[in-house]
């Protein structure tokens, strides 16, 4: 690294401020690959925060990207409620059986206390250790599932849609309970050293709910999250679309948005320019069979569409890269960002 080269933290903050840094910052969400390098089953891997820290540092060293993640797995926000998580050897842990079986159960539901949930304490410890290791040079991302999207795991998607449409009283009560949990959980991660919170909120996506229902129900919750969480929030649609609600999202005060491969990145960037940073949108499912040339071409396309002017972090579109994606492909992505992501991006105008 040359003396003049900014740290990843500086690079990312410049991008989030809608300015061009030395190059496009990028995030390789390859935590599961890190587990493989340690020779551990995923259940063993997630049992100790030190494992996650070591893997995160190794992933960053190998792929030379600009973040480390405090993230373990999405279902940890569900596990904290005493719910079952199912571990596999070849995929991320998944939420088990929903624990809210009837709307009436919501009347007496109470949130878990963050500091008393062993699964959350492990995540917090990992963030603390990462902060010690990377100091202020690398942003650490914490993750929460939004109060509005958590019920998909808590009660199942079908029953949750029924709740949204049919029982406003129970919906309001569940959101109040979930907000207490999710906002405390986000703040605990900030307190442990996370730089920003990725707020996974696929239910707010127009892929899942019509905009008018998002405005009535999901948007107020997001605004309260911005007001109550003590760090910047990046909302993530977890592969869902966002273009129809970009102005609404920008008005909520979030710093950025994780976007889908289903939408045109150039259109997203045009709608977000100067208002929201854009994070995405390489197709992590398709990535399994990309060649190195494919990876380079996709990276170039993404940078050409969203890189100019800053306000862009290159990443996958879902928030986690499947284990089935070869390491050579991830390396090709990294090489391509280092090659084509240098500002100024003159090669775009020159037809490179």
């Amino acid at each position: 690294m040359s003396a003049a080269e900014p740290t990843s933290m500086e690079r990312v903050l410049t991008a989030l401020g809608h300015r061009e840094a030395d190059r496009v910052p990028f995030l390789i969400n390859a935590s599961l690959h890190g587990a493989k390098w340690l020779g551990l089953s995923l259940k063993e891997y997630f049992s100790r925060p030190e494992n996650v820290v070591e893997a995160q540092l190794r992933v960053r060293e190998k792929y030379r990207h600009d973040f480390v993640m405090g993230f373990f797995y999405g279902a940890v926000d569900f596990e904290a409620w005493g719910a079952e998580v199912v571990f596999y050897d070849d995929g991320p842990p998944n939420s088990g059986e929903p624990f809210i079986k009837s709307f009436e159960q919501i009347d007496t539901l109470e949130p878990p206390v963050v500091s008393e949930a062993p699964c959350l304490r492990k995540v917090l410890r990992a963030i603390e250790l990462l902060r010690e290791k990377v100091r202020d040079e690398v942003p650490i991302l914490g993750v929460v599932i939004s109060p509005f999207s958590l019920p998909v795991m808590q009660m199942g998607f079908e029953k949750y849609i029924d709740l949204i449409y049919e029982s406003p009283r129970h919906f309001d009560r569940l959101m109040a309970v979930n907000e207490r949990f999710s906002f405390d959980w986000a703040n605990a991660q900030i307190g442990a050293g996370a730089t920003a919170i990725v707020y996974f909120d696929p239910v707010s996506s127009p892929t899942v709910l019509p905009r008018e229902i998002f405005l009535d129900k999901g948007d107020p919750i997001m605004r309260r999250a911005v007001a109550k969480v003590t760090g910047p929030i990046i909302s993530h649609m977890a592969s869902g679309r966002c273009i129809p609600i970009i102005d609404d999202l920008a008005g909520s005060g979030i710093a950025g948005i994780g976007v889908s491969a289903l939408e045109n990145l150039g259109e997203i960037k045009a709608a977000c320019r100067g208002k929201l940073a854009v994070v995405g949108n390489l197709n992590a499912i398709e990535m399994r069979h990309w060649t190195a040339a494919d990876a380079e071409a996709r990276v170039k396309d993404a940078i050409a569409a969203a890189g100019p002017g800053g306000g862009y972090v290159l990443s996958d579109n879902h928030g986690e890269i499947p284990l089935q994606v070869p390491e050579e492909t991830l390396m090709a992505i990294s090489d391509a960002v280092h090659k084509w992501g240098r500002y100024p991006l003159d090669w775009i105008e020159n037809g490179g």
Binding site: N94, E97, G156, Y165, L209, N283
Partner: protein, 214 residues
């Protein structure tokens, strides 16, 4: 005489705005003026097709697809009750969610097919490749619809197909769910016979894979 093109638009609008009462009135009038199965074919099937297509292109939300399917399933059950001879029970179809608890996709496809006059078995969710292949063979299922959300589960379809073929079963396998939508070649890679982007595509897919079989 039923003015189907006009009724179709009104029926679709009623579904998208979750106006069960209006949807019921339109379907009942068509059913009485024509026949229940004709009303289903001319109103319900095209409306759900357009709504599913709308989800695929981003103009309709998943919640509207789900609620439309649910409303149609209830309405069609009233004019074409289970067991009615006009219902279509061939080929023998079953549906399941492989491995996990993400059952919304299965529920939507189940409701859409039943609302279209088809009968099918629901094998449930959280099934392993072994249990799904075994039950399909035991029940002599001709078309097995498999819904998945996670990539890992989608890749398990390969094992279902392998086990089916190893047992001599000719069951056709039709898949759907997010991993297949994000990777258009994945269904072929796992050995499925067809893939659907949205629920009502399953009607054509079933016909297609049965043509190949016969």
């Amino acid at each position: 005489m039923v003015q189907y093109p006009k009724s179709r638009i009104a029926f679709e609008q009623a579904l998208l705005s979750l106006d069960r009462l209006s949807a019921n009135t339109i379907l009942r009038e068509a059913s009485e003026a024509d026949s229940p199965i004709k009303a289903v074919e001319q109103l319900v099937v095209p409306a759900l097709e357009r709504i599913g297509n709308g989800w695929e292109n981003g103009s309709v939300a998943l919640s509207q697809v789900y609620m439309s399917g649910r409303i149609c399933e209830e309405l069609v059950d009233e004019i074409l009750p289970p067991g009615d001879p006009q219902r279509i029970d061939q080929p023998k179809i079953a549906i399941a969610t492989l491995e996990d608890y993400h059952v919304l996709g299965k529920r939507i496809v189940f409701a859409t097919l039943r609302a279209s006059g088809l009968e099918l078995l629901d094998f449930g969710h959280g099934m392993s490749a072994e249990s799904l292949a075994k039950r399909s063979a035991e029940e002599r299922v001709q078309v097995l619809l498999i819904s998945t959300l996670m990539l890992r589960s989608a890749l398990q379809v390969k094992e279902v197909v392998r086990l089916l073929r190893a047992s001599g079963s000719e069951t056709r396998v039709v898949v759907g769910g997010a991993p297949f939508s994000f990777d258009e070649d994945l269904w072929k890679a796992v050995g499925a016979d067809a893939m659907c982007h949205y629920a009502s595509e399953a009607i054509d897919a079933i016909a297609r894979v049965m043509e190949v079989t016969s």
